[in-house]
Symmetry: D3
Subunit: 316 residues, 6 copies
C-alpha cells in the first residue's frame, strides 16, 4: 500500500544511530529530485534566528531535530496511526536564509515555501526562530487568510522592538494579521505566560478578536476542555498550526532562547496535538529549538516527537 | 507615578542579554549611595555556603540569579502587578561573608542586614546556603519573634552535625527558635520529603508547635487548600518567607546541593508564592541555588522568577 | 536490634560526599567475605550494555548509582521504614560481564545470581541494560515461573532484531516467557508508550495473557487505581520487580538510552513502588541508567531513590 | 598615587565570586557619571553577533568576560605592571546594538565609540563578533588611517557573503581598508590558518600590502621573532590591536563560533600581547568569545586574562 | 575541471550550519546511485563500538563527524590542495553493523568494504571503534599484505581479553598480522603511551618487526624526524593509514573512550598527516571518536580536520 | 614476588568500568583491617575544601580521582616500573573532615595522618584543597623540618585573608614554615604564575630562602634543566612532594577552583614527576581537583595519572 521509496529506514535493519540523518529517516528529496512531485507532506528545516532579540541558537535547530528524529519509529503508540503509509512524506532539506540580512532572508524563505505550496506539498517545518512563520504564511495564505492554532508562551503580537524594528521573533503574528494572512477570529493562542512588558500585545489580540488562553486557564480547565474550544475557533477552514517549543515547561524543553517557567509537561505537549484531529491542516511548524541551550538533544527529541504527532493528525 | 531612577532598563531599549547584570536590571545602590534612603525593597545577594555539610556551590548563587534575572520583565503575567512601579526597588549588592570562617560570617551578615533593617528597607535575598537566614532573622526579629512561611524539602531543624557543630545549613531554624527569633506557632514548613536520618527534627517541630506539611500531604490536598492553612498559621503578624529552591522537584531545579525527588513542578512553585498575597511580609529569601550543579542557569532562572513573585506579593 | 556491621555510615559522622562509594554506604561483602552468609538482601551492580541496540552507556550505571546512593539516609521519609534495621543489607559488588561477548556474559551473569540465590540472598540490582534481567530470572526462577511487575516505556517483548539476533535489551521478556521463567498471567507491564515499530510485541502479550497498561491509561486512571490492579495480577506468589528508568519521563530521568516523552513524574515514580507493599518480592532491579547521557547524576540519584523504595517494600 | 575611586575591589576584602560583576571589579561609570571625564581607559562590552555567518553566541561574550574577569588581581605576575594604579580604568558598560538590524547596529556602535573617543578615553572592548571592530575603527580613525596588529585564525578580509552581503564578521577589515580607516602597510595579521574557500582574501592582502603570517610560519619562527617583525610593521604611529579569541587553539579557547585547530597555546596567547610593549596603542579589543560553546567560562577566563595583558601594555 | 556533482556546497551559498549533514557537504551516493561508479574516494561511516572493552560511544562517531565536517571548506590552508577538485569524493553512507553481535558485524563490514574496493573506490572511514579496521583490511588486503602507518596511543596488538575473547578494539592488528593482511616490516605505530598491562603487545611487535615509536621518542625527536622514518618504513607499496583519535592529547580530543595523557597537540596532529605526502595510500580511517565524552563536538571537529588532511594527501 | 592481596584487579579480568571504585583498584584497607600493618604506601582521600577562599569543589576530588584511577594499569609505559609489585599499596579510605569547621578539620586530619605515619606507611593523598597539606606536614614532620618540591601556579605563602583569617588554601606553607615543618632552604616552588595581589608572598619566600621558579623561567629553561635544580634543592633529606593540579594549564586540567592560564601541558606534567627519581620521598599529594568544574572527569584522570607517576618514583 505504501510506496517503498517513501518508507523510512527501520531500526531493525539499520541501527537508529546510523546513517545520514534526515527527518525521521525519510528520503531526502530536493526540488529537482524525480520524485518531488509525488511528495504530499514535506519536512523542511528553517535554520534561522535572525529575528531573535534575546538568546540566539535556533539556526541550529533543524540539524538537531533531524538527528534526534531518527529515534522516531513508524507507528503512533497512542493512536495507532502510521503516517508514512498514509502519506508520501519526504525531507525537502533546508531553506537557505541569509544569516546577516533579515529582509533578504524573509524573501528567500517566502520563495522556497511558495514553490513547495505550488507543488501541492503541505509543509511541516522544524525551525528556526518564530519569525520564520511569517514568510511561510505569506506563501500559504496567498488565496486568503487562514486560521491558526498557536501553542506558545508568548503571543508574538508585538508592534516593534528597539525604536521601530518591525521584523523580529516577537512580531510575526502582528504582521500576519496586518497583511491579511491570518483571520484573527479563527486564531487561538494557548499557553501564554511569563512576565510581560505591558498589555500591548494582549490589547491588540482583543481588538482583532484573537482568543488568548493563558497558562493559568489552561491548567485550571485541562487539556480536553481547552482543545474543544480551540477546535471550534479554528473551525473547518484552512488552518495552520504553529508550535513554539517554549510552550512546554523548560524542565522538559530547556533548549530554547526565551523560556518561561510554569508550562505544560511533555504528556500534555503531545495531547494538545492529538486533539487537533479533524482540523483542515494546511501546514505546521515546530520552532525555537535552540541546541546551544540543550546540547543533550532532549529538547529536540521532544520537538521531533511533537512533529511526529503533527504528522499523524495531518495524515488522518 | 514611578520614580525613573528605580525603573529597570527595558529589553525594548537595551537587549536583555546586555549590560552589567544587577538583580532585575535595577539600579545598584550601595549604603553610601545618595538614593539609599529612598529604597523600599532591597534585593541582596548572600554569596555564601560555609554552612553546607554536603555539596557546596550556593556562594555562586547570587551572581547567576542576577544574570538570569535580567530576563524578567516589568509586569506579572498572571496577576498584572507591576512591582517596580509600586515600590522603590534596588540592588543593594552582596553581603560580604568570610568563606573560611563561619562564625565571622554570621556576624558580618547580621551587621549588614541590621543596617538594611534600620534604614526601613525590606530585604529580598538571593542566597546562599540556608544558614544565611539565621543572621537575617537576627537582624529582622530584634523586636520580637516573627512568623515564617518556609518552602523546602528539609526542615533545617536539626540540633547539630559532626559531634556538636551547631551552625550548618541544616540547623538555622532550630537556632532561630532557641534564640526567640521565630514564633513557632506561626511557622509552617511546606514540602518536606526525602530520606531522613531519624525523627529528631520532626519531634522538635511537634514539641514547639511548628506545622510541617510533608510533600505527600501537599500533593494530596493541592496548592489552594494547603496555602489557605499556611496563611492562617502565619496570620497577620510580621512574617518572613524563606524559600529553599530544593522545595521544587530537581527536574525543574537541578542546581542545588541536597535535592530530593518527588517535589512540586514549576507552576506550583509560583502558585504557592502568589497565595501569600495579603500577608505582612517583612522580608524574604530564595536560597540554595548552586550553579555548579546547573551551569545552564535554568535553576537560577526559576529562582529569579520566584523572587519576582515574592516581590509582587510584597508590593500589593 | 540491627547489626552494626550492616549499618550504613551516617552523614552525621562522615560527610556524605566522602568515603569509598558503595551502594547506600553499606559494607562491601563479596562471596568469600565472612559475613556473606548473613546477608538477606544483596545490592548488586550489573555493569552491562552488550544487549543495547541503540545508544550505549548503562555499563556505567552501577558506579554512578553507587555514587549518588551515598546521599540516601536511613529512614523512608514517607513511610517511616528503616530498611537497614529490618534486613541485613550489603553491597555484593559487580557481576563481571564480558563486554565483547553477549552469550558469554549471559552465562557469567546467570552463574553469579545463581550463587546469590543459593545463599538465600534476595538480589536488588542496579543495571545495566535490560537484557541483564534475563539471566537474573534464569537464576531466580529455577523452581518455576514467577510473576513480575514491570515498569517501563517499552514491553521488551520483541522476537528478534537485525535478522535474527535473539538477545538484546528489547527481547528479554519474550525469551523469559518462552523459557518458562515468567508466568505471563501474573505479569503486568506499566507505562508503555512511544512510537512503535508495529504491534508484534503487544500481540504477543495478548496471546500469552500479559497485561499491558499504556501510559494514556496510567495517566487517566491514576497511580492508586492502576496499582490495585497490578497487585491483583501479581498476586501472592513469588514476584520479581523490574524497573526500567525510562518508565519515568525523560525530564526527570534524562540519563537513559531510549527515552520516551510523556511519562510519569518523579513523585509518581516513587508512588508506584510504595504501592507494591505486601507483594512477595523475590528480587528486583532498576536498569538502563546511562551516565553518558546525564553526567550530572540526577538520573542516578532518582534511580538510587527508587532502589531505596524497592528495599523498603522488600523490608516490610 | 592611584585614585581610590578607580581601584578594583580586592579579593582579600570581598571574595572574588561576590559582588555585581563589572570588568575586573572596576567602578561602573556611564556617560553621565561625575567621574566620566577622569577615565583614561574604558572597558566596554559589545554584546553583538549580528555579523555572524556561522554559529552565533558572542552577544553573550561581554557578560561572561565580566564574570570571569573578577578573578583578575591587581598586578601582572610576569611583568610586575599594576595597570589600575598607572591609569584610571573604568567599566563603561555595554554599547547597545540592535540584534535584529545590522546597519542600525553599526550606527549605534560608531556613535558610542565616537563619544568615548571624544572624551579622550582609550577603549578596551570585550566582544562581540568581529564586525564590531569596524564601527570602532570608524570612531577612532577619524583623523586618518591607523596601523593594526591583528591576532586571528582568519583574515576577515573577504569582499562579501551570500551574493553581496557586505557587512559580516568575515569582512570588517576589507571595509576598513576601503574606507581608509587602516593603513594596510602598517597592518599585520598573525596566526591565520584553517581550511579556506579560496585565495581571495590573501590576494587582497597582498595587493594592498597587508602582512599575513600564517600559523605554520608562526610555529616555525617562534613568538619572539614574529613579534619583532610585528612591532616593526606597526611602527610608532597610532595602532589598534584586535585580538580574535579564535587565534588561540580551541583546546584552550573552545568558546568561539569558528574555531580552527592547530593554534597557539595559552602561554603564547599571553606572550604575543606582552611583546606589544612600546607601541602607541589607541585602543584594543578581544572578540568572538561565545559562551554557548563553553558554558564553563574557561574561554572567557582566558579572554579576560588577555584583556588584562592588553591593559598592561597600554599602561606602560 | 572538477565535476559539479562532486563539489561540496559552499558556505557562501548555504550557511555551514544548514542542510542535511553529509561528510564535508559532499553528495550522498549509495551503492545503487547512478554516479557510484564515478567515485574515487568514498567517505564512509562505521557506527560501531561492539569491540569496545572499556567506555563505549564510538558508534555515534560518524554522525558527529559528519555534523562537524560541514565546517570544512574547499582548500587546505597550509598546502593549498583542493581535494574535491582533484578527486571525485562522495559520502557513501554508513556500513550497517549489528550492535548486539560482534562476529556478524565483522562479516557485514567486510562485505561492505569489499564492494567499495571492487568498485575501485578508496575508502576514507570515520569510526567507530578500532576493531572496524580489521574487516576493512580484510577487504583491502585481499591480494597481499599491505603496509600501515598507525597513529595511536595504544598498539592494539593484544592477543585476547577476558579469557579468550579474540575480537576487541585492543586486538585488531594482532589478528591482521596473523591473517597476513599486514606486512609487519612495513608497519609503524606512532605515539604509543600510557600505563600498560605488561609487555605482551610490545614483545609481539618486536617479534614480527613492527616498529613502535613511543610518545617520549616522538616528543624528543620531533614530528619531522619521526615522519621521515615512518615514510621509509611504509615505503612505496600499498599503505593503509589508521588514525586513532586518542593519538592526540585528551585536552585536544576529550571525546574518546580510552584517553592517555601526554600526547601531541592539534598542530602536530595535522603535521603528521601532511608528512604522509608521497605514500601510496589505498585507504585510511579516523577512529574512536566518542561523542558521549565530548558533547561539544570539538573532538569530532578535530577528527574531521584530520580526515580532510588525509584526503589531501590521498589527492596529490 | 608481589603479594596477591595487594595486586589491583586487572582490566583483563573485570572490565575497568566495573566494581566498587577504590584508588587504582587496590584493596580497601582501613585502620582495623588485618593487613593494615603490611601496607607500605597508603592512598588516602582528603575530601576537603573548607580552606577555599574562591570557588569550592575539591571536597569531591577524592571520589572522582578514585573513579578515574580505575583506568590506570599495572605498569608505567615510559619507565617500565610496576609499583604495585614493588610496594604494598592500599586504599586507606578518606580522612573525615568537618565541612563546617576549619579548625576541627585540621585536628581530624592531623590525627589521621599521625596514625598512618606511626604505622610506617607513606601517604599518597588525593585532595582536597591545599590547606590539607598543612595537617599532613604536621603529622610527617614531627621529628624535624622536611624539604618540599611544590608544583603549583600559586605559592600559597600568604599571611592571611579577610582581616586575619590564618588558615586558608592560600596560607598553608606560610604556616608550615612558621611552625618549623618545612626547611625553607630545601623548598622549591615550580610553575608560579597568574595575576598577583602584590609581592608579599614572594618577598616572604626570598626572606626565608624558598626558591620560586616562575612559569616564564620554566618555559624558557625546559623541564630537564629546571628539575636538575629542583633535585639539588631538595637534596637527599626527607622530602615531601605537593602537587597542585592548577600547576597544569587549565586546558589540560579545567577542574580546579583557581586556574591560571599559561601553564605546562600534560606531557610536562608527567615529566616533572619522573624527574623526581632518586629523592627521598616521605609522602606526596595531588590536590585541588574540583569535579564541579569538570564533570567529564578529565582533570581527575590526569590527576590519577600524576598520582601513579608519584607512586612510581616512590617505588624505585
Amino acid at each position: 500500500m505504501s510506496d517503498p521509496f517513501f518508507t523510512p529506514v527501520s531500526g531493525f535493519d539499520l541501527p537508529r544511530f546510523a546513517g545520514v540523518p534526515t527527518f525521521m529517516r525519510l528520503p531526502h528529496v530536493d526540488f529537482d529530485h524525480p520524485r518531488f512531485s509525488d511528495v504530499q507532506v514535506g519536512l523542511i528545516g528553517a535554520p534561522w534566528d535572525g529575528g531573535t532579540t534575546n538568546r540566539p541558537g535556533p539556526r541550529h535547530g533543524p540539524r538537531q531535530l533531524r538527528d534526534m528524529s531518527t529515534m522516531i519509529r513508524a507507528q503512533n503508540g497512542a493512536t495507532g496511526v502510521r503516517p508514512f503509509e498514509a502519506l508520501n512524506c519526504a525531507d525537502l532539506g533546508d531553506v537557505a536564509p541569509n544569516p546577516a540580512d533579515v529582509m533578504d532572508s524573509l524573501k528567500r524563505m517566502e520563495a522556497f515555501y511558495a514553490s513547495v505550496h505550488a507543488a501541492g506539498i503541505r509543509p511541516l517545518t522544524g525551525g528556526g526562530d518564530h519569525l520564520c512563520t511569517l514568510p511561510i504564511l505569506r506563501a500559504l495564505a496567498k488565496d486568503g487568510p487562514v486560521g491558526m492554532v498557536h501553542f506558545d508562551s508568548h503571543t508574538d503580537l508585538f508592534h516593534s522592538y528597539f525604536d521601530g524594528t518591525m521584523y523580529t521573533h516577537g512580531t510575526p503574528f502582528r504582521r500576519a494579521v496586518e497583511e491579511g494572512l491570518l483571520d484573527p477570529k479563527r486564531v487561538v493562542m494557548i499557553g501564554i505566560r511569563g512576565t510581560a512588558y505591558d498589555n500591548e500585545d494582549r490589547d491588540f489580540a482583543d481588538s482583532v478578536g484573537i482568543r488568548v488562553i493563558p497558562i493559568e486557564e489552561f491548567h485550571a480547565r485541562g487539556v480536553d476542555d481547552v482543545m474543544v474550544e480551540a477546535r471550534e475557533i479554528a473551525g473547518q477552514g484552512a488552518t495552520y498550526v504553529s508550535y513554539d517549543i517554549d510552550f512546554v515547561d523548560p524542565a522538559f524543553a530547556p533548549g530554547t532562547g526565551t523560556p518561561e517557567v510554569g508550562g505544560p509537561n511533555s504528556f500534555q505537549a503531545l495531547q494538545v496535538v492529538r486533539a487537533l484531529q479533524g482540523l483542515n491542516i494546511i501546514g505546521a511548524d515546530l520552532v525555537e529549538v535552540s541546541p546551544p541551550f540543550d546540547p543533550s538533544g532532549a529538547t529536540a527529541y521532544l520537538g521531533a516527537s511533537i512533529m511526529f504527532e503533527l504528522l499523524c493528525v495531518m495524515a488522518r
